[in-house]
Symmetry: D2
Subunit: 286 residues, 4 copies
């Protein structure tokens, strides 16, 4: 529906696999309360819910997400820096065999390129340990025997990448943005393994579409694709923030013991620092 | 997920727009009960639910479909001729300004072309009256002023077309089949209006994929695309059954009064017969 | 490239299957002559060529289309009513077992819906005789034994549908328009047979994109998707003009004898009129 | 056509942007000579030609590729290790601001996973220097001022990635493979810049489809998607070989002076080795 009509409405919810319909149902309730004309004078409603499979740590069969949690999440949503790590839909996530979850990152383009912001929030739950790369350093291979990795089958998760920008882009251009998210994910070492339902969605806050516009046509402002410098800066920023946000989801998550005493270790930061130093990585020389 | 992995599992559920998540949730419950390994040893589950907006007749805000209805539908499912008209997810549907709903049709290919069956079940909820064509006859225009048509906004529904066959086809070929469903819909006069979320899904019963196959590779049987005579017969049958099933959804549905005394008239069969006769249509000359 | 960047440049050329690369090459020459900066300061160029297989009538192995023909076609292109029938790329086309080729049709929307024009030019080369329907009347079945149909394999052609409009639509919306073209084709009886490479492309003349715009952003004018009345009128017009243009390609084409004395009969208009009359079709009652 | 029918026929040709139609035309000639029934008894022919824009070094307006070059390329094609660097369609390519071109790499899966080979040949012509990463090391940033980079506009090329395997995969699975190629490209630092028409195509040599099979159905052998270990090994290999092949295209290409004395420097291998050593990369410690 989003690709067909080119707009979003309402919140984007992130949860775990087996609560996705329940969260969508609650999101629909919330939207219908807000819009009494829905299902009366008109039908259209878009509810966006994305998910990751967290059933190694989480008692996923328990279906513990209730509709009140959705209402609460919407009501308490605020601006500013989102919480990262083992929070929200990312609570039980596993990334590259370490504890993953929510990560975020953003970039501000130079004024000459429009001064736009590109930001992402990822729910990161994918990959096997040997594949983890941080700034290209094969951290996963170096930590292969550090502490046990969760059994292989359980690693098959997914990565949800939500990209937001205030750059005025059309839905066609936003799909171009969304596709670049996967390139950022690839830099961390991901190969989009068989069961990994990776998903990227990009939206722009620059313009709103009115449901009941008075005039037959409306003017929308876009950056032409011919403005290669700005488009490329947006693509670069998208790839960069997704890479950084996935790493942040690891940096912000601690070891967790879940259902049936299953344990997933948090990425050991001192060891990571030592590995980056061993690889002569200048950022950690200070 | 279906396009990515090329298979279906479990039932296909049809309901109305604002119960789609609730039905999916119940379908997931049913699947998880059947498969205790889901969300424990493995995560993968596909729940297929399609919907039409029935809120002109139905108290859609009331959300009257309960999970028990889903379980009951699965448990009482049987072979043989499905019920048509104002039943199940099609109860409140409106098609070409008349009462629509569930319709079905099938074709048997000649033995020389494989003797395969192509069958469809549609949930039909789309179109404005002036567009209705039966066997090409502009029945809708002839009946434009017969009884009032529901207000225009309400007509914007959708059409769900499920196509089943026992022909051994790959997922790629089944997508080719599914695309032909829209051509059958077009014959009835539909133009896929702005809000119409038409959807077609095709599956083959010829082969099952085992989750835990012992060997590294498996042999699957397919009709090669070079067998043009058989492929074309399957395409023709798909288009024909969808056209017929949509018409059957009209023929099998009676006038219904719904919420707020909204009324949708059933297609008046004697008038239709007279119109077809007027257009010299040989089928009704007898 | 068109879907990625959302614009067209230069002419759309129509030819037969085995000259498509030659025509594209000539089109590229023409574009490079016009734009000396191409392949020097910049690389981008879009050449659009569509084709139908005409090898039953045409000596397709002879490859008779020369680059001069392309230059001439561009230079002599003019406004007004295009030639129809056995002309240009449609010279050797076969449609529903009769002589096909080029057809065109257009609609003007009422002023209240914007007063826009939707026009099409089709190169029609598909279908088997028994499938031909004119205004829903099974003309093909009625004429099944009138004169021999070309052998079955040869019928497997395709249909190119070019839709032009002056309605201000985005590339996303134009893809919605293009998809409705297939519904118009379906009304004539086509089922998109196995070998039929049907193709639709839609463009709007409402706005031009400047290669070297001075400002960072530009304003574009679009009809919002929420203007359902206008969007639906555009969809309806698209479906209608494609149906009419395909029929016009038949009406405008006479019997042709081609290579190896292969013969394809033109649709016999008096017989068609009689059949329509037999089916009580009001248009021919006068 | 490849996605629709799921098979390839004939060679895959790689050339530069402005000769793509000419090469396709020659490929068509070659195919028609081989198959005298084409354009007589049947129409179907698939010619696959991919291209990169090489007009910074190459006199692209000169259109120097003649059809004889195509015939010669086909006739002299042989097994074994392909030539790499500034050869064939990659002669004038620029990659990350250095001289690029053709690269190749392959992996052999362990016997327990099927012992399959995954191989690639890339025509690499994309990226800006600051983005080049080798094994994650920011080689491009370290060499940013080493020698001048070609002007920015000219860098906007593309990357063609052809992946071949003897693993028995369906066309659906091969599309999954092809999509993973972009992840390997991303590891080298590419962000799929605005003008970059990156393209991946994957094929399997495991099975041939007969045009005139005697039986109605045929059996094909596939690796089920449930064989996650093998599928994942194929995905990993695809990503790895594409990364390596792009780097090989740089390693195998020397500085080249082209049209108008435009110069593109080859990647300086001693400097690269020093940079990798600086970053403590173990592979170069020996």
């Amino acid at each position: 529906v989003i690709n067909e009509f080119g707009f979003l409405m309402g919140p984007i919810a992130l949860t775990n696999s087996f609560n996705v319909y329940r969260v969508a149902d609650a999101l629909q309730d919330w939207s219908m309360d807000l819009h009494p004309e829905i299902a009366r004078e008109q039908s259209g409603l878009i509810c966006v819910v994305a998910e990751c499979a967290d059933d190694y740590l989480n008692d996923a069969r328990g279906r513990h997400v209730q509709r009140e949690a959705v209402f609460q999440a919407i009501e308490t949503a605020s601006g500013g820096m989102p919480a990262e790590g083992s929070v929200g839909g990312g609570t039980g996530d596993v990334t590259f065999g370490f504890k993953g979850g929510i990560g975020t990152a953003s970039r501000l383009l130079p004024a000459a390129l429009g001064g736009y912001t590109v930001a992402t929030l990822v729910q990161s739950n994918f990959g096997i340990r040997e594949n983890l790369h941080i700034c290209g350093v094969p951290v996963g291979r170096e930590l292969l025997h550090w502490q046990p990795e969760p059994p292989l089958r359980k690693n098959e998760g997914s990565c949800v990448m939500v990209i937001a920008t205030d750059a005025p882009l059309s839905s066609r251009q936003l799909r171009r943005i969304a596709r670049r998210a996967f390139l950022g994910q690839a830099r961390t070492g991901g190969v989009a393994r068989n069961g990994s339902g990776d998903l990227a969605i990009a939206f722009s806050t620059a313009q709103r579409i009115q449901r009941d516009a008075p005039s037959l046509t409306e003017k929308f402002e876009f950056i032409p694709d011919f403005r290669e410098d700005t488009i490329n800066a947006l693509f670069q920023a998208t790839t960069d923030v997704v890479e950084e946000a996935i790493l942040n989801s690891l940096f912000a998550s601690d070891t967790m013991t879940g259902r049936d005493d299953n344990i997933v270790y948090g990425l050991p930061l001192p060891e990571v620092a030592a590995i980056l130093r061993k690889y002569g990585f200048p950022l950690v020389e200070a």
